[in-house]
Assembly symmetry: C2
Homo-oligomer: 329 residues x 2
Amino acid sequence: MKRALLTLTMAVALTGLGSTATSADPLPSWADSDARNRIIDFVETVTTPGGDDYVTPAERIAVFDNDGTLWGEQPVYFQLIFAMDRLADLAQDDPSILTSDTLKAAAAGDLETVGKGGTDAILEVVNASHSGTSVAVFQQAVADWLAEARHPDTGLPYDQMTYQPMVELLRYLRDEGFKTYIVSGGGLHFMRAFAEDAYGIPPEQILGSYADSSYEVIDGAPVIVKSPGIAFIDDKAGKPVNIERTIGRRPIFAGGNSDGDFAMLEWTTAGDGPRLGLIVHHTDGEREYAYDRDSHIGRLNDGLDRGPELGWVIVNMAKDWNRIYTGAQ
Amino acid sequence: MKRALLTLTMAVALTGLGSTATSADPLPSWADSDARNRIIDFVETVTTPGGDDYVTPAERIAVFDNDGTLWGEQPVYFQLIFAMDRLADLAQDDPSILTSDTLKAAAAGDLETVGKGGTDAILEVVNASHSGTSVAVFQQAVADWLAEARHPDTGLPYDQMTYQPMVELLRYLRDEGFKTYIVSGGGLHFMRAFAEDAYGIPPEQILGSYADSSYEVIDGAPVIVKSPGIAFIDDKAGKPVNIERTIGRRPIFAGGNSDGDFAMLEWTTAGDGPRLGLIVHHTDGEREYAYDRDSHIGRLNDGLDRGPELGWVIVNMAKDWNRIYTGAQ
C-alpha cells in the first residue's frame, strides 16, 4: 500500500490538476484495508514493465463469478425470480404449461415451495421459462423484466444491486490492461441481457450455464432458438473446464463467493507466477446479508477453510466495503 | 475498387514516404478481381464513420472456417494425419491401445483404410489419439508434430500451408478494427497449438469441436484433462449455435469453403445492415487442388448453388489468388 500511495502521489504531482478522482483512487468504495492493499499490490506487480512478475496484457485474464460476487443473490438467485415472473406471464397466455405443483407454485410467486424443491425445482422452473423462444426474444424479456421488477427487500431494480466495489474493481482491472470475464453458474443469455451495461463486460466475455440451442430457418429468417434442458452447468469443476474451453488461457485473477467457485480459484491461483484469488465473504447483515457455511444459497465452507492458506484475499464486506450497491449510497 | 484506390492514393500522398507496402495494398496476394474489390468495398463501407452502414468496432466480428478456408485440407484433414502419427507414437509404448482394425490401420499410416471408414473411423482415430492427457501435454504433442511432419504432396510443414491471401485478409480485417475468429469443425485444442502464430488469432477467438474435459487435482496440482468422446461437433448448424453461445454476437463477415459452413454464412449474411459471406472455391488443380461437389472432403454444393443469389463472394482460387501457401511463393 505504501508503494501504491507513493506511486499515486507521484502521479498526481507529475500530472498536476489533470488527474481525475478515478485515477487518484481506483477503488473509492473500498476501505483502506488489507484486501484493498493486496489487490492494488497484485495489479502493480503484474503491470510493472521490467519487473520479474510482469505479465503481458494478453495473459491478464480476470474471471469473476456473478451471483453473490458481482451482484446480490438473496433471498434467492435473481434469475429464479425472473423465471417465476416470466412463467406467470407465459401461463396467462397458456395455463397448460404449468404441468407440476412446482411450476404452479412458481407462477403463483410461492418462493418457499419452489425453494423447498432444491436444485431440481429451480432447474424445472428455469427450464419451463427459458426455452422455446429465440435468444433475441428471451433477452428482450429479461430487459423488460429488469426495467419493471424490484427487489423485495431493497426496492431497487435488480441491475442496480451490483456491488459498487466490484464494479470499481472490474473497471480498475480493465484500466490496467486486464480482460475481465464473468464465469457464473447463472444463465449465459440471462446475464448477457444486462452485463455490458452493468459491468462493462461484453457478451463474448460472459460464460455461464446454458441449454442447447438449435439453428432454425423460420419464414426464411435464420434464428437461434433456446431448447429445453440444461446442457452445461457452469459451476464447481465446470468453471475451470469452461474457462479452458472458451478462453483457452489460465486466468491470473479469480473472484468468487461460494464453494461453487472453489475449483476456479484453485486452478487460477495454483498456476506459475503471480496469482490472486478473492472471496467475497457476506458478513454484512445490516447493509446486505450475512451468510456463509449454512446458507441454502452461496454456501461457503472450503473457501473459508482453505482460502487463507492458499493465499486468497477474503473480503469482509462489512469492514472492507464503504458502500454496497451501485444503486444506493 | 476505384474508391479504394483513390483513398489509398490519397493516403500515400498525405503520408509521403511513410506508408509501408502493407498500408498501400492490404491484400497483395489477391489478384485485381471482383472478389478482392468486394471485400475492400465492404470493409470501407462498415468502417467509414458517419456512413449509413457504419458498424462500431465492437460489432465488427469476422468468423472463418479453418480447413480448406485458411489452410489446406487435402488429401485429408491435417488433424487426421496428426492423429494417425500420434496414435503410432502412443502405440509404440502400448500396442494394446490399437483395439480395432481402424486403429491398427491408422497407426500403420494406412490412410486409405481409415478414409473408407468415413466419419466414424475419423472420430475413432481422433478419439483414441486426443484424450487421456492434459491439454498442455496434448498441445505440446501438436507443436512437436508440426515441427517435424511434412505434407505428402508439398513437402511443407503443415502450418506453412496456410493460404497467404487469407492470412492477409485476416490481418487487413484486424487493422480495420475487426475481431477475427476461427469457427472450425477441427479440434479446438489442436488449432490453438498453432493458430496464434499462423494467423494472429488468440486462443479465446478460436472455436472448434471438442471432447469433454475434466478438472483433476493430481499430486496437488490442478489440471484440465481431455476426456474421450466428442462432446460437440462444430459443423453445419453447430457453427451458428456455437458462435451465438461463445461470442454472443452475430458476425458481419463469414468465410468458409464447404457445405459445413453454409449455416454460418447464411446466419451471418441474413442479418440487418451490411454483411459479407465469402466462399473459397478450390479451383486450382495445379497450385493446390480442384474439388467441390463430389469431394469426400470439403464438399461444396449449397454454397455454389445458393451463394451467388445470397450475395456471397465466391473466390476462384485459380484466378483470384496470386499466391497460395504462406510457405511457398
